[in-house]
Amino acid sequence: MPRFAVIVFPGTNCDFETVSAIKKAGGNAERVWYKQSLKDFDGAVLPGGFSYADYLRAGAISARAEIMEEVKALASDGKPVLGICNGFQILTEAGLLPGALRPNRIPRFLCRWVYLKVSDAQTAFTQFYKDGEVIRMPIAHAEGNYYTESLDGIRITFQYSDERGNVTEKANPNGSLLNIAGISNEKGNVLGMMPHPERASDKWLGSEDGLKVFRSMVEWARR
């Protein structure tokens, strides 16, 4: 069974439920304190939270931690690396993904359920979805407004949409470029996303749509 490290920085706060979701998806997952090593792991997940309280800029300090060198090595080996919310911010700050997450158009924290269109179902994290499938999960962030100078080398993976999959201005909760909710690298093994799939992995919590992100990831690592 593939083994995933759920990396815990000081201030990370979605680590426990992310571990549960990976286990539910058939993977093995452990919380790994940021000073430990990633040796022997088949993939890494940077969960949500407020690492270093967003001091300086969201994700900026964590992105410079030593463990990120190991994360980069995993990524270049083609192993899955997933950044959720603060994890996405860390991935952009660390240069593993291009662009930046700016403050929301209305500059405050927003916790809300949204619809997403799966715009690319060929990545390590979306292979169990259908292209164009509409899924539902919550966002919870103050800096999720994605921007990049160039779309070269980016695969737009998730976009905010209405419940029919139309990518509209109205469905954009934070002002993100092209309604981008998640992007992956060219190889498709590094994904950053603002919505929280781990919070949509239990029918009692409103949706199990997010579980396929982890199932896809587990399956990819198994190959």
Partner: protein
């Protein structure tokens, strides 16, 4: 301290206390820390039953959920600090209650924030509101504890002031309970967390006096500085340290700072302590012993451990990069001794700090309930006005700023009758808070009972059976005889209502002296309730299918005193709704049975804004309209159509269900009447077939979502 108390201290001590001792005594004898005006009356509250593991007396109460799960629960107020500095005041209020839960051994898993303000028309009230919400959000979100509910209310009596209450629950195994007191000498006292600064000096004494008009300038230094990042590390480090099984006692530093935490920890079972104040890490240069002993700097915990376990425990603190210091030790002799270097700067019998004599104030009953005639107003106009009230409109603007999903337990989210958290694969915990200061002002006894009754109705509406209560009593100065009387009446109401439902209060808080410029607030008891619900039985308020019948449970009377309807008409008098406990119990029991038997599709309790608002909320939640004939609503006495629709009589619910279940459902209730059906895309009120008022669902939604506009925002 009052002069008679100072005299008493001199007598018990046999000398004048020195400057450090006086500051410590001042803090410990404050109303906020000692409960000296309330203690005697709080004893009237029921505190024991089969669900209670630990009642009031420590930092939080504990309730049994099942064999393997205990729920730790507490409630706090941070009114005075929030009125002076709303962001820091509200944020540190969250931090304080979270540490109270943590120090019993539990992981904090949810927060509720009942908050109250003056009218939003005034800029200062808008400022207080926006920054209290931001303070709660920034703190709760950063520590990863979801804020799953609460209340936000606005009333003229709170102009330029705010009531910021916060309730928290935690989860643990019953055997993980750690007490806040020690029962042996020779233990090391380890202070861990933030450095100690000059913030929050005299915080509790400041919270035990009325605010002056220019408190904003004068009292800033009494408000603590929030640091959620350190709090989050403290949570994880504490839980990891507790896993070793080697923590002998644990207490957080809150009101009264190091003095309060260490003297209570040592003194509770008759031991004493020596504190080396100069060892405390200082945030600011040149602090003296007095400042260090009473500072209320946040994010600090006090551990009692055996010397041989010190290394194992402190290694965990170091992993989380938290500063720690052995600040003292416990001793057999019941004395509280403070050193500054080699100098002994305080030496008191520990009981002089912890046993504060009660004060009884004069109580004078008042009676201000008067019959009023309801002014002429059309149903349609009244509906729009009531729906537009900041008290009625959706609070989405508030709770979307709170991370209400973190930790992955939120089954029912904010904005419904009660929040529900998933505890295991089969059961959930329902959590809700209620308070009706406008009722309490008119009739403190019934106002208090209504807070309990409404909380129980909210739990029942989501399918939960109540487990336990906590109470937060926000009052003006107890030195005012009318206020003190209203306080006593409130306790009696809380006690009677809880006893009727077989419930106990496991924790609570009293906040007196809530006044600005000698203007007392209305009595404001807030009750938070816990309930247990089978996940598959969870019920919601949204209308589910067109053609479903709508019925009302309970009887409607001309009870509009303190109602939202009278508030928008500017009427301060009238009689508060009466709580009839037998009726409440019967109707609540009927609702729970109806859910268990699967006979109903939607339930909503009738409270603020009466039947009209309850129906509107059900329609908006389900995206379906209704047609209701008000002549079918059972009433007692003579009521006009607006009185029927906006009365806030208690013990009422609205339900929707399939017609075929009508007979079985009716059998569950003594007071039950079909009043209409789920239909169309409008709210339609009729009387004997004739239309009284109609409002399209879209228009109703526009009004109901208008809070951002009331705050001057555009979205």
């Amino acid at each position: 301290m009052f002069p008679h108390e100072e005299k008493l201290v001199r007598e018990r001590l046999g000398r004048e206390p020195n400057e450090v001792e006086r500051a410590m005594l001042e803090v410990m004898w404050s109303e906020h820390a000692s409960y000296k005006s309330s203690r005697r009356w709080l004893k009237l509250l029921p505190t024991k039953n089969e669900h209670v593991i630990l009642g009031p007396g420590e930092d939080a109460g504990i309730v049994r959920f099942d064999e393997n799960t205990a729920i730790v629960v507490g409630i706090e107020s941070h009114n005075h600090p929030s009125a002076v500095e709303p962001y820091g005041g509200a944020a540190t209020g969250v931090g304080g209650i979270v540490r109270d839960i943590l120090c019993m051994g539990a992981r904090p898993v949810a927060l509720l924030d009942p908050i109250r303000f003056g009218p939003l028309e005034k800029e200062r009230n808008r400022y207080l509101f926006e920054y209290v919400v931001k303070g709660i959000a920034d703190y709760g979100n950063r520590i990863g504890v979801p804020t799953v509910g609460g209340e936000a209310e606005f009333d003229e009596s709170l102009d330029n002031y705010t009531l910021v209450n916060v309730a928290c629950i935690g989860l643990m195994k019953p055997e993980e309970l750690v007490h806040s007191y020690i029962e042996e000498d020779g233990l090391l006292l380890v202070l861990v967390g933030n450095k100690t600064g000059r913030d929050g000096i005299h915080g509790v004494t400041f919270a035990s006096e009325e605010l002056s008009e220019n408190a904003e300038e004068e009292d800033r230094s009494a408000v603590q500085i929030p640091d959620p990042f350190t709090e989050k590390l403290l949570i994880e480090a504490t839980l990891e340290a507790l896993k070793t099984g080697k923590v002998r006692a644990l207490k957080d530093l809150g009101g009264g700072g190091l003095t309060c935490a260490s003297s209570e920890m040592a003194g509770k079972k008759g031991f004493g302590a020596i504190i080396y104040a100069d060892r405390v890490p200082q945030r600011e240069p040149n602090m003296n012993a007095m400042e260090i002993m009473i500072s209320e700097s946040q994010e600090r915990m006090l551990f009692a451990v055996k010397e041989e376990d010190l290394e194992e425990i402190t290694r965990i603190f170091e992993k989380y990069e938290l500063e720690w210091v052995v600040v003292g030790e416990t001793i057999e002799e019941p004395r509280y001794i403070v050193y500054w270097g080699d100098e002994k700067v305080a030496d008191l019998p520990v009981s002089l700090l912890t046993d504060v004599p009660a004060i009884e104030w004069e109580a004078r009953p008042y009676s201000i309930e008067r019959d009023v005639e309801t002014p002429e107003i059309g149903v349609g106009e009244a509906l729009v006005k009531v729906l537009s009230s900041p008290n009625v409109v959706s609070k989405r603007w508030v709770w979307e700023q709170y991370d209400h999903e973190v930790q992955g337990r939120s089954v029912l989210k904010p904005g419904l009758d009660a929040a529900v958290l998933k505890i295991n694969g089969e059961y959930g915990l329902a959590f809700v808070s209620d308070g009706n200061p406008s009722y309490s002002y008119l009739n403190p006894y019934h106002g208090a009972m209504s807070a309990v009754a409404e909380a129980v109705r909210n739990l029942a509406s989501v399918g939960a059976r109540p487990l336990a209560l906590v109470d937060n009593l926000n009052f003006a100065s107890p030195e005012r005889p009318e206020v003190y009387w209203s306080f006593i009446e409130t306790i009696k109401g809380l006690a009677d209502a809880a006893e009727a439902f077989g419930l106990a209060y496991v924790s609570g808080n009293v906040s007196f002296y809530n006044e600005v410029g000698s203007r007392p607030i209305k009595p404001a008891p807030v009750v938070a309730a816990l309930g247990k619900v089978k996940l598959e039985n969870i019920m919601t308020m949204d209308f589910k299918d067109k053609g479903d019948l709508i019925a009302i449970v309970g009887v409607t009377k001309k009870e509009l005193g303190g109602s939202e309807f009278y508030r928008i008409l500017g009427i301060e008098r009238g009689a508060a709704p009466r709580v009839e406990l037998e009726r409440e119990k019967k109707n609540t029991e009927g609702i729970l049975k109806a859910i268990e038997l699967g006979l109903v599709k939607a339930i909503h309790d009738v409270s603020e804004g009466g039947i009209a608002v309850a129906l509107t909320e059900m329609a908006l939640a389900g995206g379906m309209g209704f047609e209701v004939d008000i002549s079918k609503i059972p009433v007692e006495g003579e009521l006009s159509p607006v009185e029927v629709l906006f009365s806030e009589s208690q013990a009422r619910f609205i339900v929707s269900f399939e017609g075929e279940n009508l007979e079985k459902l009716g059998e569950l209730f003594d007071e039950f009447a079909v009043i209409g059906e789920v239909k169309g895309k409008a709210l339609l009120f009729k009387k004997e077939g004739e239309e009284l008022a109609g409002l399209s669902l879209d228009k109703a939604r526009e009004i109901y979502s208008s809070l951002p506009e009331l705050l001057g925002e555009e979205e």
